[in-house]
Amino acid sequence: MKVSEIVKILDAEILSTVENESQVNITMACGSDLMSDVLAFIKSESLLLTGLTTPQVVYTAENAGVNVVCFVRGKKPRGEIVDLAKEKEIVLLAAKNGMFECCGKLYKNGLIGCFEISKQKSLGSKI
């Protein structure tokens, strides 16, 4: 799924983008406010939906290879966090809807969850 599609489905605002945004392809998503949970299950090339707006969200995305983060419930991070995301080449979006609605809308439009993939590939996978 392209960033533009996610923006359309969630009616989201783009807070920071990357040069090759149109080439960014999202294959799955993960919604959580617990970064350790995110790190445990999220895969590369995925979307992270979260209500947390700390710098650690950006670091989590960087380390886990997440290229798009969407803040839910109308939350927006501070300017320096947006700058950090730009530096790390991570797309930041802000959606007005809550976590449940955002996840539901994306799932209905065909985006699957990282946990689902994890189960498919056996939980013990190191990748």
Binding site: L34, T54, Y59, I127
Partner: protein
């Protein structure tokens, strides 16, 4: 000409890269070597033909090996203007400039730039300092081209140097090299928590490790960094990097973990609520490190500190 004027407008106190290069580069590195030359007895008709065929504006005149003059498009025009069509039969030696200003092949190009500025000429024949033999010709265009070429080479070298350090292990000759990188972490500094791992990750990318390997190291190191920031006053991440494995040692000076076995259990956490509000402290940190690394050991003593080690074997 841009080279000359451009240098004048630059701040003289701070030499630019281009200015440095004009001292570094020698005439022989930028001059044109295969020079078309004429003999004193050649005719102005030959001058016309060579200028037209080679799209040049001046030709050195040599007697044997020795440079005796230079004949230019201007000399040809004046000759034709004065003598009309008969001008083409004139001998070069009667029309050429005899006191030719030359440059030496081993001179830095800054001197040539100065000479262009002073004389207003478009080209200088290049002679060998010892034998006084004509070895080439140099124009302002040749200087610009030479400078651009050198800048491009330097830029490429710098780019390779800056963005790829992957050759370090092959460059250093030993039976096994280890690169040790240390990152200090201050406890309680939440706005900066994650910064050290980010630096380590960037270096691993530069060292040319596979993305999958880097991801496993980065996630584990990030969890270790968060633990140090959340629970301790200070600590350090020490990365021992070898071509086939990356070992990370995360140490701190307290307070230590009372029950290491319990701490390893997924979901077990002693974190206060404010840590959970930051998205951590869900009891997944240590289990995460264990699952992303190939080997992990954890030693801890209450009030002394914690020593966490993990290894990720690299895939090449």
């Amino acid at each position: 000409m841009s080279v000359v004027q451009g240098m004048k407008t630059m701040d003289p106190k701070v030499p630019s890269k281009t200015q440095e290069l004009t001292y570094e580069l020698k005439v022989k590195q930028v001059m044109r070597k295969n020079v078309t030359s004429l003999k004193p007895d050649s005719t102005m008709n030959e001058v016309r033909r060579i200028l037209r065929d080679n799209k040049i504006s001046g030709i050195p005149v040599v007697d044997g090996d020795k440079l005796v003059g230079i004949v230019t498009i201007e000399d040809l025009l004046i000759c034709l203007h004065e003598l009309g069509v008969r001008g083409i039969d004139e001998k070069v030696k009667s029309r050429m400039t005899k006191n030719v200003i030359t440059v030496y092949s081993d001179e830095p190009i800054i001197r040539v730039v100065g000479k262009f500025e002073k004389t207003g000429y478009g080209r200088f024949p290049v002679v060998d300092r010892n034998k006084k033999k004509l070895v080439g010709i140099i124009t302002k265009g040749d200087i610009i081209e030479g400078l651009l070429r050198k800048l491009e080479i330097d830029y490429l070298k710098e780019e390779i140097h800056t963005y790829r350090a992957s050759h370090i292990f092959t460059d250093i000759n030993s039976n096994g090299s280890t690169l040790i990188l240390r990152y200090r972490i201050i406890g309680g500094e939440f706005t900066k928590a994650g910064e050290q791992t980010s630096k380590l990750r960037k270096n691993l990318l530069r060292l040319g490790f596979m993305p999958e390997t880097i991801r496993r190291v980065a996630i584990s190191a990030f969890e270790a960094e968060m633990n140090i920031v959340i629970y301790t006053t200070e600590g350090e991440l020490i990365a021992n990097i070898q071509p086939d494995k990356i070992m990370i040692n995360a140490i701190d000076s307290g307070p230590g973990i009372p029950d290491v076995k319990k701490a390893m259990r997924p979901g077990y956490s002693t974190a206060p609520d404010w840590v959970r509000e930051l998205g951590f402290g869900a009891g997944m940190g240590l289990p995460n490190i264990k699952s992303y690394s190939d080997e992990m050991t954890l030693e801890s003593e209450v009030n002394k500190g914690t020593n966490l080690n993990f290894v990720v074997y690299t895939k090449k």
